[in-house]
């Protein structure tokens, strides 16, 4: 019996102690006619060896391409130490640290994580993680509405340059509470949020303005201007950021005159593998004044009976297990293991290391963009300052070009055509520090061949 230690003797002894005839008898409170039959649709048990073999084949099926897709999930080098440590049984198979004295490892680690996130974002307080960047943004929106006492509306302004999937997720989550997201159009030439587009909302009651830096297109926004504008309008500012970039470019805490109020984002770049999209983790940081509106767990430093330093869950009165229907969120299980990995990653790299990664990404992106701008018919749409992503306009159907590149083992980018009609045949291309010059040339080759093939088909 896989994973079940009971021998026939054990079972007999236990049943005798209980005073039952059979295991089945232990289920006698379940109405007999409700009892399930055989689960025929489920295959019989396999051994670890068989599973390993089956799944290795499946993993193999999905491998082998050179990937230039970013769009919210980024390939970075992950130091070997990161998962060696995170996968230690003591981290991986512990529960939420409810018994603080027996969980100081996890608790101190999260305290350190919180400290790293506040350092990166330039804000005061961090929680222990949310599910992912997108749902994290939904929580940030809810939080901003609770926190902005000056706003009576349940409306939030959101830049059109925020990740489209994030906008969808936020909407799925907040619309039930009758919260309205109002989108600010972006300038399709500069791929940024124009102050002029905001002016139409001047004087309106919104709880917050949501902006992304770098934005979905990898372009840098003028966050200082946007932040100051929102603050003048008595809106809170929610910044969606990339933690890698935060070591290089101005972090939310430094935006404008007073800094953004809340920063959220996807933690994946901090040592978490792409892994089909998860588990990643969402981070959220805010100014001290907003801490009681923060969703999720927070770890605090305190002392024990002897006055010795120790760590414990704190401000639990915000949470569902204490506050139930009055909680700041329903989140309970979060993304602890990913946070463990991220904490190790951030410790290993530090400001200097992450900044080097950021710079290498930046250099690679620029290099690839300049290589591509030499390809006839192709246009690099993103012109302003950017971070590891840019928009490329193709002379043919972007869907077809990408398919042709796929056949050559190159995933050329994320297609923007469907989501952004104004960006027809445009794709979003990403090059991180993992890409070598050879890889970049491989991209160019694959693209050129694909374009030629499509040319040929047309003739």
């Amino acid at each position: 019996m896989p994973f079940i230690p009971h021998t026939e003797d054990d079972i007999q002894k236990m049943l005798e102690t209980i005073g039952a005839q059979s295991i089945d008898q232990l289920f006698d409170e379940i109405p007999a006619h409700l009892r399930a039959g055989a689960l025929d649709a489920i295959p019989p048990a396999r051994s670890e060896m068989e599973i390993m073999r089956l799944m290795s084949d499946r993993a193999e099926q999905d491998s082998g391409a050179l990937c230039f897709i970013g769009a919210g999930a980024y390939e970075h080098h992950i130091p070997a130490a990161v998962w060696d440590i995170a996968a230690r049984g003591e981290f991986m198979t512990a529960y939420t640290p409810y018994q603080a004295e027996a969980s100081q490892g996890t608790l101190q680690l999260i305290y350190e994580f919180q400290s790293m996130m506040t350092a990166l974002t330039g804000l005061d307080v961090s929680n222990a993680s949310l599910y992912d960047g997108a749902s994290g943004l939904a929580e940030a929106v809810l939080m901003a509405i609770r926190a902005n006492r000056k706003s009576k509306s349940k409306r939030v302004l959101i830049a059109g340059t925020v990740h489209p999937l994030y906008k969808k997720v936020v909407n799925s989550i907040v619309h039930n509470q009758k919260i309205e997201l109002v989108e600010v159009a972006f300038d399709s030439a500069s791929l940024t949020t124009d102050l002029s587009a905001l002016s139409q909302f001047e004087g309106d009651d919104f709880a917050a303005l949501v902006i992304a830096q770098p934005n979905f297109f990898g372009t840098l926004e003028d966050v200082h201007q946007l932040t100051d504008w929102a603050h003048q309008q008595k809106m809170l500012v929610v910044g969606v950021i990339n933690p890698t970039a935060a070591t290089l470019i101005s972090p939310p805490g430094e935006w404008g005159e007073h800094g953004a109020d809340i920063a959220v984002g996807e933690g994946q770049p901090m040592g978490i593998p792409l892994a089909s999209g998860g588990p990643y983790f969402g981070f959220i940081c805010c100014k001290q004044a907003l801490v009681r509106q923060m969703p999720g767990r927070i770890i605090g430093r305190t002392v024990d009976l002897d006055g010795k330093e120790g760590f414990a869950l704190t401000l639990q009165a915000r949470e569902q297990h204490i506050r139930r229907s009055k909680a700041t969120s329903n989140i309970c299980t979060n993304q602890g293991l990913a946070v463990t990995a991220a904490t190790v990653y951030m410790s290993l790299l530090g400001q200097e290391g992450i900044e080097r990664v950021a710079r290498a990404c930046h250099a690679n992106t620029n290099h690839l963009a300049s290589l591509l701008s030499a390809v006839p018919g192709v246009e690099v749409v993103s012109t302003g300052p950017r971070f590891h992503e840019f928009v490329l306009r193709l002379p043919k159907s972007s869907r077809l070009v990408l398919e042709h590149m796929e056949l050559q083992g190159v995933l050329g980018g994320h297609d923007l055509s469907d989501t952004f009609p104004e960006l027809e045949n445009c794709i979003l291309v990403c090059a991180t520090e993992t890409k070598t010059d050879q890889d970049l040339n491989g991209y160019v080759n694959a693209l050129e061949i694909s374009l030629k093939e499509l040319e040929a088909v047309e003739c």
Binding site: G72, G105, L315, G336
Partner: protein
């Protein structure tokens, strides 16, 4: 000592970053970071040593018996972790085209089918990232259902008071009011109270069965009828699915929708607080509303061709709940676990977790502990109450919990559910051996003796952990939630 305090200006784990520091000239100065982030500056050895030593300050399944009720701390197969960590799985980009996704999609699809079978439901979406998000998806579907039918007055969700805190919190996040109903002394829901509570304002009820009282809700069919008759739907909180896996199916009990905690029942690691995975399963009525994406199949004769079903395929969906596809790696681990235990193993999960719980309950009762529901069968978990000890000896459930740590056992869940005073909710799980449980009973018996003879000893516990009892009040009052260098 904090990792920050081990740092020295200029130190770093050199091998881990690009060796060259590339120039940046095209970003305007105003958009560049002004102050370096105050991150740790430490060597690779320091990091490895610091976190290795920190890990050793944790209790975990891999090191201790961990009978934390409602949390299902069972063995997390190392094989599942290894398989899910194959480079092919780790390196797949979430937006990779379907041609580079067939291996992953096949696994997702098959897990959906397995979960349909064990729940008796018509459809499954794996995208919710934990139990609470599964609850959200479920209640949002209930809402979407009523709205689609133009049934706009249903503004209330009924929740028994024994429910997990996520239930009421979720209902509120979905824009509902919460109506709590009582639970009887035998642990079952008060059906009379329910009858009074339902009405045209009732959107649905959120139930856990077995409830968090550790007993099977015997009136479930009556409850289902009452709620359905009132036009409401039944939500099943499947966090406790371990208790009934393969024995009774939520669909057969009359539920319209449920979430499962794969990180519990399907043995994926808890990771010190996550990640989880909280798939939802629905009956026919709610099929159109499932959250996206879902793995679909196009059977074009030969090899099956797997695809993602998104908005286009499910226009009435409640939408996306994560940027990509939920906690993909946890989903993969759960699928692998299902392959490990197989058809019969599913049933064994509930059989042996129930056997263990009833055994442990009996032994503790024999050792002099009071059961909260002494005339009931234990399910996969059960409750003892230390009211008597608390009153007579001044030793609380919390004291027992802390003292257990000194004996090398993680404490059971304390003070939950709230309706049982001074309670410990105990869940041994099926992967623990009789020896481990006997050791636990032995420890509890010793602590009871200690409580009788030297109460202060127990009240001062723990003594053997990295710290003694912590000052929670100070933690909240003098808030220190991030390190700032001097």
């Amino acid at each position: 000592m904090l990792i920050f305090e081990r740092g020295v200006k200029g130190r770093t784990a050199t091998a881990q970053a690009p060796l060259v520091k590339a120039d940046v000239t095209d970003i305007p100065e105003s958009l560049m970071r002004k102050n370096k982030a105050a991150m740790p500056e430490v060597s690779e050895l320091q990091v490895v040593r610091h976190y290795t030593n920190l890990s050793r300050k944790n209790f975990s399944i891999d090191t201790q018996f961990y009978p934390l009720g409602s949390c299902t701390m069972k063995y997390n197969p190392r094989g599942a972790h290894k398989v899910a960590s194959l480079p092919g799985f780790l390196n797949r980009h979430p937006l990779a085209p379907e041609s580079y996704s067939q291996g992953y999609l096949a696994s997702v699809y098959e897990l959906q089918e397995i979960l349909k079978e064990v729940t008796g439901m018509a459809g499954v979406s794996l995208s919710p990232m934990a139990g609470a998000q599964g609850e959200f998806a479920g209640v949002a579907m209930i809402r979407a259902y009523h709205e689609k039918r133009g049934d706009h007055d249903r503004c209330e969700i009924i929740v028994p008071i024994a429910a997990h805190g996520t239930n009421p919190a979720t209902a509120v996040m979905c824009g509902y009011k919460v109506k709590e109903i009582p639970v009887l002394n035998d642990g079952d829901v008060d059906v009379d109270a329910l009858k009074e509570a339902v009405g045209p304002q009732t959107a649905g009820i959120m139930m856990t069965n077995p409830s968090t009282c550790g007993v099977f809700e015997r009136q479930i069919e009556v409850i289902a009828k009452v709620v359905h008759d009132a036009g409401g739907l039944l939500y099943y909180d499947g966090a406790n699915l371990n208790a009934i896996l393969g024995k009774v199916r939520p669909g057969d009990m009359g539920f319209d929708v449920l979430h499962m905690n794969l990180h519990k029942t399907f043995a994926t690691p808890h990771g010190g607080g996550g990640p989880g995975s909280g798939p939802v399963a629905v009956g026919e009525r709610l099929l159109p509303y499932l959250p996206t994406p879902i793995a679909g199949i196009e059977d074009a004769g030969g090899e099956p061709d797997y695809c993602w079903l998104g908005e286009e395929a499910l226009p009435d969906s409640i939408g996306r709940l994560s940027a990509f596809m939920g906690n993909a790696g946890i989903i993969l681990r759960a699928y692998i676990y299902a392959l490990f235990v197989g058809r019969d193993g599913m049933q064994r999960v509930s059989e042996f977790s129930t056997l263990n719980a009833n055994y442990l309950m009996k032994k503790l009762a024999d050792a002099g502990f009071d059961l909260a529901y002494k005339d009931r069968r234990a399910t996969h978990e059960f409750i003892i109450t230390l009211s008597k000890q608390s009153k007579e000896l001044g030793v609380t459930a919390m004291d027992f919990a802390k003292r257990l740590l000194d004996y090398g056992y993680h404490a059971p869940t304390t003070y939950f559910p709230l309706l049982v005073p001074e309670c410990l909710l105990i869940e041994p799980t099926e992967t623990e051996s009789i020896d481990e449980m006997d050791g636990f009973v032995e420890a509890m018996t010793q602590i009871l003796k200690e409580a009788e003879n030297s109460a202060d000893l127990v009240k001062g516990a723990p003594y053997t952990q990295p710290v003694k009892r912590l000052d929670d009040v100070k933690a909240a009052r003098e808030l220190d939630v991030s390190y700032s260098p001097q």
